[in-house]
């Protein structure tokens, strides 16, 4: 394979206190592809993507060993700053979480905390991010309204725009459609397919059809282990592991 590897997990173990949530995960995430992570609840898939941008550090008593290489650099290495990692690897959460601020302020927040003061630049960036997130047409006349007045699907696209504004190269989606209706879900999926032209995307999902629709690669997690990883088409048509087959045919999970 001659694809560029964006993120490489090497021998990753993860602990909540004394209980082990991830066991020896080795996995490659390719540049400008969509990688889906599937598996039953509690299998460690959310835990896994949260440590890809060090969000696990917000939870006390967690411990991670092994390496996660972002463009070849270990993100847990002492010379890497969590703030820097999170700028490069953005995250969209399960429940849309806009700040209780205006639409404009939601997007510009990431720019401002990163020290950008140029008003002109910020305005332009807000518009471009909203356009990329396919939200501009719906909100351009009310940029200064509260973001909380948007619908759930719009809020989720706003959160995507917020991530795009800080120029992340990789975007992690943690079950982004779990609280959305089918139409909003379709819009988000469409957007993911559009975004993968420029971004590396990792998406955790409970919905296997969604994984099949949007992803190029799929990883199947079970009880903290990576059972199978490969091209989405192969995973869904000819899984090598019997546990993967059992899961995708709906025998458990």
């Amino acid at each position: 394979m001659d694809k560029k590897i964006k993120i490489k997990a090497k021998h990753v173990d993860f602990f909540y206190g004394k209980s082990q949530a991830l066991k020896n995960i080795n996995m490659d995430i390719f540049d400008c592809d969509v990688t889906a992570i599937i598996g039953p609840s509690g299998c460690g898939k959310s835990t896994f993507i949260r440590l890809l941008n060090r969000m696990h550090e917000l939870v006390p008593h967690t411990n991670v060993t092994g390496e996660v290489l972002l463009d070849g650099q270990n993100i847990f290495c002492c010379s890497m700053d969590a703030v820097e990692v999170r700028k490069r690897v953005g995250m969209v959460f399960q429940k849309p979480n806009p700040f209780p601020k205006s639409i404009f302020d939601n997007i510009s927040y990431g720019l401002k905390v990163n020290g950008i003061k140029d008003k002109y630049f910020i305005e332009e960036k807000v518009e471009r991010s909203l356009r990329k997130a396919a939200l501009w047409e719906e909100v351009k006349d009310r940029l200064y309204d509260s973001a909380l007045r948007l619908s759930g699907g719009q809020q989720q696209r706003l959160c995507i725009a917020r991530t795009l504004a800080v120029e992340s190269e990789t975007i992690l989606f943690d079950e982004p459609c779990a609280s959305l209706d089918p139409i909003s879900t379709a819009k988000i999926e469409e957007l993911i397919l559009e975004l993968k032209k420029d971004y590396t995307i990792v998406i955790v999902t409970h919905n296997m059809q969604q994984a099949a629709r949007v992803s190029d690669y799929t990883a199947f997690f079970l009880m903290g282990e990576l059972i199978e990883f490969g091209k989405t088409q192969e995973i869904f048509t000819a899984p090598k592991d019997s546990k993967t087959e059992a899961y995708i045919t709906g025998r458990f999970g």
Binding site: K87, M91, F93, G110, C159
Partner: protein
């Protein structure tokens, strides 16, 4: 007994309990009005509120409570300068910096401050703070507005801290995650997301702390000095409304003008704290709506 009848009886018992506090409140309001209003047949309302001299036992007596109102305002404002930094500061520490173990010890300890009887605070103020202030500022007496402010500030700190900490905890975790996810650091997250989101909750905490300070009686009676002149500096003795009522009620002949005037002061005090509480309630309700919590 039939279960449905039983259920009805329970329902009634608890309804009576719930409404009894309303009855007490109404009773107190009625008494305040009934005993307070007669004074306004002797002095006009504006003369009562804005009158600059309070000589209830002179002949003829003067019932101007402006010095008392101003004394209450002064010590309350002074207390704010103490309890806001202490209370909000410790809430921020508890919320942001303290670990689980520290928090488990510190929060109950701070709340324990609230359970110390006010007479003990007053005693502390008289015995320790009074000579101390007298010495360092070289005052004729240490029983001053400043002394009362400091003690009231310490007394209101647990209220402010506890409520401000609750307000910070009400801020959904998702806001913090969102902020960290775009590369903000802890300080930025705290000042730009968490504190603004908790802002009105913190203001509520401060208002309720003020409400506690302005209504406090025993402490100010012991340490404020008791001079019923219009305060000009924090280093003077003052007589806040509560202290006036507590000190004079015993000597005021029942049913006399002085007696009615004291009730009228209580009425004014009640209206002030009532307004404080309403404002706090309105702010906190708006805040819960703003954060998308139930109203």
């Amino acid at each position: 007994m039939h279960p449905r009848i039983k259920e009805k009886i329970y329902k009634w018992i608890f309804t009576v309990f719930a409404f009894s506090s309303l009855v007490f409140l109404l009773g107190i309001i009625i008494v305040l009005f009934k005993e307070g209003l007669p004074i306004f047949q002797k002095v006009s309302f504006s003369k009562f509120i804005f009158g600059k001299t309070w000589y209830p036992t002179y002949d003829p007596p003067e019932f101007g409570i402006l010095p008392l109102i101003l004394a209450s305002v002064w010590v309350t404002v002074g207390a704010i300068f103490i309890c806001v930094p202490l209370g909000v500061g410790s809430a921020l520490y508890l919320h942001e910096i303290a670990g689980y173990k520290q928090r488990a010890i510190l929060k109950p300890l701070i709340e324990l401050l609230a359970s110390i009887p006010s007479v003990v605070y007053g005693f502390f103020g008289m015995m320790i703070l009074t000579p101390f202030l007298q010495n360092i500022f070289n005052l004729p007496t240490g029983l001053t507005a400043l002394n009362a402010s400091i003690i009231l500030g310490i007394m209101a700190t647990p209220t402010v801290c506890s409520l401000a900490d609750d307000a910070l905890n009400y801020v959904p975790k998702a806001f913090r995650e969102a902020s960290f996810a775009v590369g903000a650091n802890r300080w930025q997250t705290l000042t730009k997301v968490v504190i603004p989101a908790a802002g009105s909750g913190i203001s509520t905490a401060i208002i309720l702390g003020m409400s506690r300070a302005i209504g406090e009686t025993m402490t100010v009676l012991m340490v404020a000095g008791g001079a019923s002149a219009i305060p000009k500096s924090f280093f003077q003795p003052v007589r806040p409304m509560t202290a006036a009522i507590a000190a004079e009620m015993g000597e005021a002949p029942m049913g006399g003008d002085h007696y009615h005037a004291l009730f009228a002061i209580a009425l004014v005090l009640f209206l002030i704290t009532f307004v404080f509480n309403i404002i706090a309630e309105i702010i906190s309700r708006r805040y819960r709506i703003k954060l998308g919590l139930s109203g």
